[in-house]
């Protein structure tokens, strides 16, 4: 009999970046890197587990913007171009490193991986969301939704219709893409404010996640801390609190696993290391050096970086997976006695940490899942829905305002560098509500303009833009996206009100900002 549960959650999100108007667009690489380094490795991992009959459980959020990009023809075609270029580069690398066996086997490793990526991508007919769907259909993966464009909801409190739109658009998009209703939601950045649960309930969602203090600072005191979910007072929507002990083993930049000296060094990429003329065809056409994904060194622990050794790294990943499991066993054992019931450990991570940042992360996850399933019986992997089905009686509290961002609240998205956006975002939200009220029924061009207005508003709300502005580096793209969408919205608003919609221009922005084809502006109420 198990003594407790482990709920692993991977949050997959990328902002909507798609620029058909440019042949090459640097920020589109976020998606291509995500596909090559995180999403496909995860898919291959799930396939291996299924083939080997490993009865694993994992919860995964797929943000609607990510699902949309994965399903977009233009981006799919561009990914093929991207991976073909990488394959070509890897071939050249195999040749170039002929006299350096310590690097050549790595060049071969990348070559193999890039081919595997292309094959996998084609195998799922270029739409990776279908791959994740198949694992959900197999009962191993529970996919949850997220805000439509990952808007940070606590800073929309004064424009509730926008929160409703973020949630409802996400839910209907999920249904269309995955053929079922989502049971849970990953609130963007775990941003929660008491009362949001009403909107979740309205959208048919049964649960969400919050950071530890969302539950621990809730009222009344949660009897089981974060080791059991709570129901929100008044709505009964379940809130799962994040366990920080398990989080910090992976997250912490100081003590976390990814910093092990045997692991691959993220910052030594041939895009920066190699001769400019040689690497020129594989970096940005403007000539800006970028990461290619081919990296030959390990973290080493000093400036004199040593060549990466995949076998040593793999051993380390196995050891650390064992360590993680051991710690959870101890944790669960202690808590089970202490609480007098089986504790639930909720460990959520940004998916892009695995594979992209932490190259061995996917391997670590594979070892962990296999070990937990086969090597012990104290902890059982569980999804939130399964847990709730088995443990329907839980305490009712009001969780606290919280996020999992810097300092635990809203400061990341509300600081000197980005606070200027809210007066514009809120004004646009109010105007959207006004439009939705003014046009309860409409059709034709006006309807198209209204739907596009909501798309532009949602895109402007992506938390990613405020986040990037907050980090203070490479802010120009984030500023530009915020302004572009707000300006497009403003013009749509004016044109609709004036009864003078410019169809040519509307078609153009429909073509550029083409996500959520089925959107209905009336959800913004």
């Amino acid at each position: 009999m198990n003594k407790g549960y482990l709920c692993l959650v991977l949050h997959c999100h990328l902002p909507y970046v798609r620029h058909p108007e440019h042949e090459n667009f640097l920020e589109e690489d976020w998606l291509y890197e995500g596909i090559t380094e995180t999403y496909i490795p995860l898919i291959l991992l799930f396939e291996r587990l299924l083939n080997d009959g490993v009865d694993f459980r994992l919860t995964m959020s797929l943000s609607p913007t990510l699902i949309s990009m994965l399903g977009d023809r233009l981006l799919q075609d561009r990914y093929i171009k991207h991976i073909n270029r990488l394959i070509e580069l890897a071939h050249r690398e195999v040749e170039r490193t002929r006299w350096q066996p310590e690097f050549q086997h790595l060049a071969n490793m990348y070559l193999g991986r890039f081919y595997e990526c292309r094959n996998t991508f084609e195998r799922y007919h270029r739409n990776l969301a279908d791959a994740f769907k198949s694992f959900q259909d197999a009962g191993k993966l529970e996919i949850i939704t997220c805000g439509a464009t990952h808007g940070y909801l606590p800073l929309m409190e004064v424009v509730r219709p926008s929160i409703r739109a973020q949630i409802k658009v996400a839910v209907s998009h999920y249904e269309k893409a995955l053929g079922a209703k989502p049971r849970g939601i990953w609130l963007p950045e775990c941003g929660f404010v008491p009362g949001f649960d009403e909107l979740l309930k309205e959208a048919g969602l049964k649960y969400f996640f919050s950071d530890a203090h969302g539950v621990l600072h809730g009222s009344p005191r949660p009897k089981y801390g974060v080791f059991a979910p709570v129901y929100c007072k008044g709505t009964g929507v379940a809130c799962f609190g994040r366990d920080l002990e398990s989080s910090k083993q992976v997250w912490s930049s100081i003590e976390g696993y990814p910093g092990d000296y045997n692991y691959r060094e993220f910052y030594r990429d041939i895009g920066f290391d190699l001769d400019y003329e040689y690497i020129r065809p594989y970096i940005h056409p403007d000539g800006v050096r970028i990461n290619t994904g081919i990296k030959y060194y390990r973290i080493t622990g000093s400036e004199n970086k040593q060549p990466y050794n995949p076998c040593a790294a793999q051993e380390k990943a196995a050891e650390q997976a064992g360590n993680f499991m051991f710690n959870r066993q101890k944790q669960v054992e202690y808590l089970c006695d202490f609480m007098g019931k089986k504790p639930l450990i909720v460990s959520p991570y940004d998916a892009e940490l695995f594979g992209h940042w932490w190259y061995e992360g996917v391997m670590w996850l594979e070892f962990l899942l296999r070990k937990v399933v086969f090597d012990q019986d104290q902890i059982r992997l569980v999804t939130p829905s399964e847990y709730l089905a088995e443990n329907p009686r839980n305490q009712v509290i009001t969780p606290s305002l919280s996020s999992w961002g810097w300092k635990g609240y809203s400061e990341m998205w509300l600081q000197g560098a980005n606070d200027w956006i809210y007066r514009h975002l809120h004004a646009a939200s109010e105007r959207m509500t006004e439009l939705a009220k003014s046009y309860p029924e409409t059709g034709g061009l006006v309807k198209r303009a209204l739907n596009q207005a909501l798309r532009e508003l949602l895109l402007a709300q992506s938390s990613d833009w405020a986040f990037i502005m907050g980090t203070g580096t490479h802010t120009s793209y984030a500023v530009k996206r915020t302004k572009d969408h707000l300006l497009r919205f403003a013009r749509l608003y004016e044109d609709i009100k004036a009864g003078a919609i410019d169809e040519g221009w509307l078609s153009d922005i429909e073509y550029k900002d083409n996500l959520f084809p089925e959107i209905d502006y009336r959800v913004h109420q």
Partner: protein
């Protein structure tokens, strides 16, 4: 009844971050009017665009012609206010107050409205923050987690009268620690809760309540500390200040030409020729001796040529 008295706030100047209106320098916008016109001409026949085209705004407006103040919660202690008041409102006040207007100060009056239905007069307490004429937003240190707040933007006259220009929404700051309210049905002794609390934050079983949260803040265990949103920005980690460095590597280029249909091997490995029969190979060149036999065989296997460069490389 709250006493109408200005409570001067004695907070360190550094804690009151005055934030200036952040406005990006006007940059070339892709969707400027001209650009739109060009794009329209490109994608659509001109007769469709014959309607006088509405000009695409280049910049976000400074305001929206509204009179309002909006509060948002930043964290348990701080709230942010932004506001907009049309100049007509000030004109009217100037008209009405005459000289007094010029002696008046612009003020944010911050009301603690916890557990009440605020009617403008029944605040638990309030304090004023003097605002510069050109400010349009402010971070307010409430010093009060777990309470509700409402803010008036207005004029404080020399005689102590306060004139409200706009009143904000009400916001509630979250608690900065665990709730003191317990649930009879889900009772837990204090020391037991303290243990769970510390463990939830990942700091073992003995951390006192509240301490764990502070610890966590210090250790910066938050999403986004480790990874940026989405993927990495395409930039290399910047080496520390004044960390001078040099890296030197060598590569060797081997190139040549033969009949386009010949078969060529380099160090025994077949290589592809360009259509004109030339070839170029590029190798990372480590220290030591490299013997590089290049062999070409004619397509009918009748003829063979071999040239073997030998390269010695050393690093001093």
């Amino acid at each position: 009844m709250a006493k109408v008295k200005t409570q001067t706030i004695k907070r360190k100047a550094t804690r009151q971050r005055k934030s200036v209106v952040t406005r990006e320098p006007a940059k070339k916008e892709i969707f400027g009017a001209q650009q739109v016109a060009v794009e329209q001409a490109k994608f659509y026949p001109p007769q469709q665009a014959s309607r006088p085209a509405r000009v695409m705004p280049q910049e976000l407006p400074f305001g929206y012609g509204q009179d309002k103040i909006i509060l948002q919660v930043r964290d348990p202690w701080w709230i942010h206010a932004y506001w907009e008041v049309r100049s007509q409102i000030f004109d009217a006040l100037r008209e009405q107050l005459k000289d007094d207007f010029y002696k008046a100060r612009r003020v944010l009056r911050v009301y603690d409205v916890s557990y009440i239905i605020f009617n403008g007069k029944n605040a638990n307490r309030f304090f004023d923050i003097h605002i510069h004429e050109h400010s349009n937003n402010w971070y307010i240190d409430t010093g009060g987690p777990g309470r509700s707040w409402c803010v008036d933007f207005g004029l404080l006259l020399a005689d102590g009268r306060f004139i409200t220009i706009v009143r904000s929404n009400t916001v509630a700051t979250p608690l900065a620690g665990p709730s003191w309210i317990t649930d009879e049905e889900w009772m837990i002794p204090d020391d037991a809760f303290a243990r769970l609390y510390g463990m939830g934050f990942g700091f073992g079983r003995s951390s006192p309540v509240g301490k764990a949260w502070q610890e966590r803040l210090k250790k910066a265990l938050f999403s986004g500390v480790f990874a940026s949103p989405g993927m990495a920005s395409p930039v290399k980690k910047i080496p520390g200040a004044r960390k001078f460095w040099l890296a030197v590597n060598t590569e060797l280029i081997v190139y040549g030409a033969t009949e386009p249909d010949a078969k060529v091997t380099v160090q025994g490995n077949p290589i592809n020729l360009r259509p004109d029969g030339t070839f170029t190979l590029r190798f990372a060149l480590p220290d030591g001796k490299q013997v590089i036999p290049v062999k070409a065989v004619s397509c009918d296997n009748q003829e063979e040529r071999a040239i073997t460069p030998v390269v010695n490389k050393e690093t001093k």
